[in-house]
Symmetry: C2
Subunit: 322 residues, 2 copies
């Protein structure tokens, strides 16, 4: 089991450090936040505010370095990686993959990098919100491109499985388009709804029930984190916002003209059913040999069909698909 060096100890980085230590990995972490470093040290973890020292140790130990800093801090930390551990095994947990991959190629071209993104979180943030169980049952995208080094990919995927998540292999572009749809659009719709609700004053807040509290919950997330992920995924998010505007405009037009909303509401109901089906319907087993010449294509195909990898049997990735 490869050692793990976590840079950034907020909700995701802190949870990762806890969960990796819990399965017996040798772990250490670094954060520029004195508050988080103190709290993590007091909780018994090997943590420093000297990011360079943590990275040099990672280079010596051939550890897997996990960048768990906000997207806006990525370039700064990558420069430190270039200085202290330029050839390290590297992954990250940020919510956009295309822009981070481009930054890695530019700033640390010799790093053996495979991007990742756990689909888990809460509206809270910081080390105090971290939890070793955060990733249990979650989907964790581990990027595969045509030129991905599958030995690095396998190292990252093993860590993901150790943390209790399952692996979804995907190209960065597929990831970014999909999270625009199922994560970044929900955050922006929640913000719009929370704004319009609050404009109704205390009366609106008093009458607000389940549909409103559910629909606005993620509007309570730290605004800096939401800005970083949505603004950082601009290219993929714009067409999704256009789709939302088109559908909402059609809804408005239909209500104004015929007065009927069946098209909007029935499509939404079918969409809710698709989510339930994906969760509830039986899945079939799937295997991808990592030594096959078309291993990358096999992994990407599995991910793009909504499949996931749940274990390894030697050089074979074992998974399931609906």
């Amino acid at each position: 089991m490869r050692d793990v060096c976590v840079i950034g100890l907020g909700l995701i980085g802190g949870s990762l450090l806890r969960a990796a230590a819990a399965v017996g990995r040798t772990t250490w972490g670094a954060t520029t936040s004195e508050v988080d470093a103190d709290a993590a040290s007091r909780a018994g973890y090997d943590v420093t505010t000297d990011v360079g020292a943590a990275l040099r140790r990672a280079a010596e130990a051939e550890a897997l370095v996990v960048l768990a800093v906000p997207l806006t801090a990525t370039n700064e930390v990558l420069k430190q990686v270039a200085e202290h551990a330029p050839h390290c095994l590297l992954t990250d947990v940020t919510s956009v993959k295309g822009p981070v991959g481009a930054a890695v190629r530019r700033i640390v071209p010799w790093a053996r990098y495979v991007g990742g993104h756990p689909m888990a979180g809460t509206a809270e943030s910081g080390w105090t919100a971290s939890d070793a169980a955060l990733f249990g049952g979650a989907a964790w995208v581990v990027c595969v491109e045509e030129d991905t080094d599958l030995t690095v990919w396998t190292d990252v995927a093993h860590l993901v499985l150790d943390l209790g998540a399952h692996v979804v292999p995907l190209p960065a572009l597929s990831h970014d388009e999909t999270v625009a749809r199922i994560s970044h659009l929900p955050h922006l719709l929640a913000a719009v709804l929370a704004t319009i609700g609050a404009q109704g004053g205390p009366l609106a807040m008093t009458l607000a029930a389940g549909s409103y509290t559910d629909g606005t919950r993620v509007a309570g997330t730290n605004p800096e984190l939401v800005r970083a992920m949505t603004e950082g995924n601009r290219e993929a998010l714009l067409p999704i916002l256009d789709e939302a505007l088109g559908r909402l405009g059609a809804t408005r037009g239909s209500l104004a003209s015929t007065g009927g909303l069946a098209a909007t509401i029935n499509a939404g109901h079918a969409g809710a059913q698709a989510l339930a089906d994906n969760r509830d319907l039986p899945r079939s087993g799937v295997q991808v040999s990592l030594t096959a010449p078309d291993a990358r294509e096999g992994l990407i195909s599995l991910g793009e069909r909504g499949g996931r990898i749940t274990s390894f049997d030697g050089d074979t990735a074992v998974g399931e698909v609906n």
Copy 2:
């Protein structure tokens, strides 16, 4: 304690029958659904499929009649009220108040009607989903207009408190504008989001996490019920949809031009805080004497400030406001 006759025994009507019986009221119900009638009878309730007979009994007993049928069935049931109990004490639980009030004035002009709407529900429907505890702690709008008969209003308000809810006194127009904002818009945004998410196929459903499942939950509601409430509140809903389109369009424009989303996201965060404040901040006590000449104005003012009535002390409504 006045007897209660419930017409319609789905989620809301069934829960109301259960909760009113549980506090010792004499209750009976009627539904045209053989399935719901059988289930309610087997559960020990006094239920018939003969709506006319239930209404005649209500007229004889001076019972409070509660219409708990879908909005689309309201006119049909009001005709039966006009035939069998034209002077009865009447309330309803439907999700729009202006159109129902107008239908009552047209079809049963002699009924002593005060409209109501409990802000409670689940994504399920029908008698099998009903629950005597459904209304515990919920806001329940009981309409007050300039010409409202306060003795009828008080009868309805006492029932609401008996059911475990608190009373929000409001004119129909304020109710309809506010539910467009905090209930009907959330349902339509959830439908749009669930449609766009599902268009991402199994991959999108596999990556969907909390922001998506929260944002789409009410898209699973019975489409007929969602259509009835949104289409039935057309006049109040159109300007709210325009507000949503305007804000989402500004979000899109900002992302496309400057790339910044601070305005949208910060406003949404402030909105989420407003909801939390309304729930958590201390409230002050308030009293409205129902025998005062300006009692109706006092009730409306309380409701429009986001206040609620939680008990009665003789002829005085006792409540609280933030």
